[in-house]
Symmetry: C2
Subunit: 352 residues, 2 copies
DNA sequence: ACCCTTTGATAAAGCGCATCATCTGATGGC
DNA sequence: GCCATCAGATGATGCGCTTTATCAAAGGGT
């Protein structure tokens, strides 16, 4: 019953063919669903081949299969940073959840590109000018820190890649599964306005990333739409905690009743600054964040925009699958997914 | 400056060779650091080749390289359950952290085997009797729910695999990176004894898993070592919350002052049962757990044995790397790693 | 001058697979 | 009963690379 112990070498198609007394082409056809490659196989022969495969424990060699032009059923996931450190996980986890799910549905495996360092500790797609992602049929790319030039090259090459999050690269149209931060931001501002706030300040981290630009768009749209119900809806650039700490007192003095930050980190800073002035949140000042993300655990339950991470993950894989199934269609695949808004306890009607 | 968009076909080594007027072997040598593969290349020729590579934007094809070379530099990670659901993450995360780190050091990639379902939703290594893990050079296997028969077959086959956690399979010696639960358990009991406890009860979940057997060993060792300082150190089987709830009152009545559970889940149950009797933890009764793991977040800060998950992960990968580098050595590789003990607030000296 | 070593380079043999062009019988239409 | 058809199978070819065996030419010692 026990097969050979420690086979020196993995069995090949040829071995199977020999055992089943058929040609290698037949084995190939059986493995890839019969009739593949224009070769037909009868039921009895197929059974005999399956049997031989069973007996030898044959498994197709990915490299060979790839080389010969077939697919490997491996989908890659690339991130410029390590995936599993605690701080990273809090960001990546929802995406991973969705990706794993979708990849599982496709009956594919997931390849994490961990060993793609170029010299220092930084990951890179191209190593010695070699596109390491080629190991997979295609790849999903997620994360914030990134090398745009490299990504542009990747797409130029025609490599099947889908981003999680919107990306605009110069000279080439990228495929992505993105969150609709624009609409979410607008809705959040509308909600704030509906509560009675007339002076709103947006504390902008200063990033030019697409996900932030989308929020900018939404904020601007809201300001236009609500022009007659708002006395002020201004944007202030606060790249760090210090900037927030310094700015908040002035805003309070100028009568702003609600602050909107990019993320919970800055929201925490804003609350701290407010409380340092003896103002309570949300009693005297409301605070909301345009992202639920936070590197460090926060004690407050902020009202935030919620990124549909899991859905973005599954959507990205689906887009990638579509690209792989229809390689002749070179057009970019895009999905934009609605965001939620989580009602925390940092948003209330303004005093008086 | 912009390269060709969507090149129909990527340039090959042969193309470069033609342009540089050298043989393909020389190109290969230049790409892999000269003198690779026993082929030497002069400085001027090398320069000419580099130039041609640049000009064509040549990038080696990994599939072909792997096919020719043998190893794929892909290390597999297999789990019988999905990796990223919230509950699973709390268990897998530390291991993943270590694995990613070590794989990164090896300059390998990590392949997550997700699409290996046999019929229902359950994952399996063998699909149609075929070992799907062979896509990778070797694999690390982690998790609790498992198919021992399948694992035995896997090792019999000689597939390079390392377990995270001790495994004893019939008829074959497995490689693993394990935690030293035995010593940790003994130390925990010693600490409890040192606090003055003389009647200790171990609430045993009834599992026969190696990790639990190791704890059994440690508990027994402690009982022997501390025979004269202990009036009782007994084991009670409590497979579920109900069993705990029912048992605890009797134990309290019989004068046990410290309960040791397998995990935090049961520890929570024990606390609840004690408090239902009007006893406080740790005032009237001490509680400790032999694993920090808990599916659900606990409010108490239990004193527990801490599994060195990250270290086990890196150790497992190192062992695997050793197997891959020395395939002729068929002996099992094993690493046993010391556990920590986390001091929570559920353990105190017994009253009076 | 001779042989031996070293340097620089080449041609060719696979690696394991998918696929294309053929080939062989059996079937079927009429 | 004969040719067209097609299911079923084969062999060869090539994907792009690494590596081995081989070889030409250039020193270098005696």
């Amino acid at each position: 019953m026990a097969g050979p112990v420690h086979p020196r070498k993995r069995p090949t198609q040829a071995d199977v063919a020999r055992l089943a007394k058929v040609s290698p082409a037949v084995v190939s056809a059986v493995v890839n669903g019969r009739t593949a490659g224009g070769v037909r196989v009868g039921d009895t022969t197929a059974a005999r081949v399956e049997e031989a495969i069973q007996q030898l424990g044959y498994v197709p060699n990915i490299a060979a299969r790839n080389l010969a032009g077939g697919r490997s059923n491996i989908i890659g996931l690339f991130t410029y940073e390590a995936l599993f450190p605690m701080e990273a996980m809090s960001f990546y986890h929802p995406f991973l959840l969705g990706v794993e799910e979708a990849v599982e549905d496709l009956d594919c495996h997931l390849l994490l590109f961990t060993g793609s360092h170029v010299d220092g500790r930084r990951r890179a797609i191209y190593k010695n000018g070699v596109n390491t992602l080629q190991l997979a049929d295609g790849a999903v790319i997620v994360g914030q820190a990134e090398d745009r030039a490299e990504l542009t090259t990747l797409l130029r090459e025609g490599f099947p890649a889908v981003f999680i999050g919107r990306r605009e690269l110069t000279g080439i149209e990228a495929s992505y599964a993105a969150a609709d931060y624009s609409t979410a931001t607008r809705r959040l501002v509308e909600r704030i306005s509906a509560l009675g706030h007339r002076r709103i300040a947006r504390l902008h981290g200063g990033s030019g990333h697409e996900s932030i630009v989308d929020r900018d768009t939404g904020f601007t749209a809201a300001r236009t739409l609500l022009a007659d119900r708002l006395d002020a809806a201004d944007v202030f650039v606060t790249p760090n905690a210090a900037a927030v700490t310094e700015l908040v007192p002035r805003l309070v003095e100028q009568g702003y009743t609600c602050l909107i930050t990019d993320d919970c980190e800055r929201a925490v800073d804003a609350c701290a600054a407010a409380e340092a002035l003896g103002r309570s949140v949300p009693g005297d000042l409301s605070v909301a964040a345009l992202s639920e993300f936070s590197f460090t655990p926060t004690d407050r339950d902020f009202t935030t925009v919620v990124t549909p991470g899991r859905d973005m993950g599954t959507a990205a894989i689906r887009l990638l699958a579509d690209i792989l199934d229809n390689p002749s269609d070179r057009s970019p695949r895009r999905t934009v997914i609605e965001c939620g808004i989580r009602d925390g306890d940092t948003l209330a009607a303004p005093r008086g």
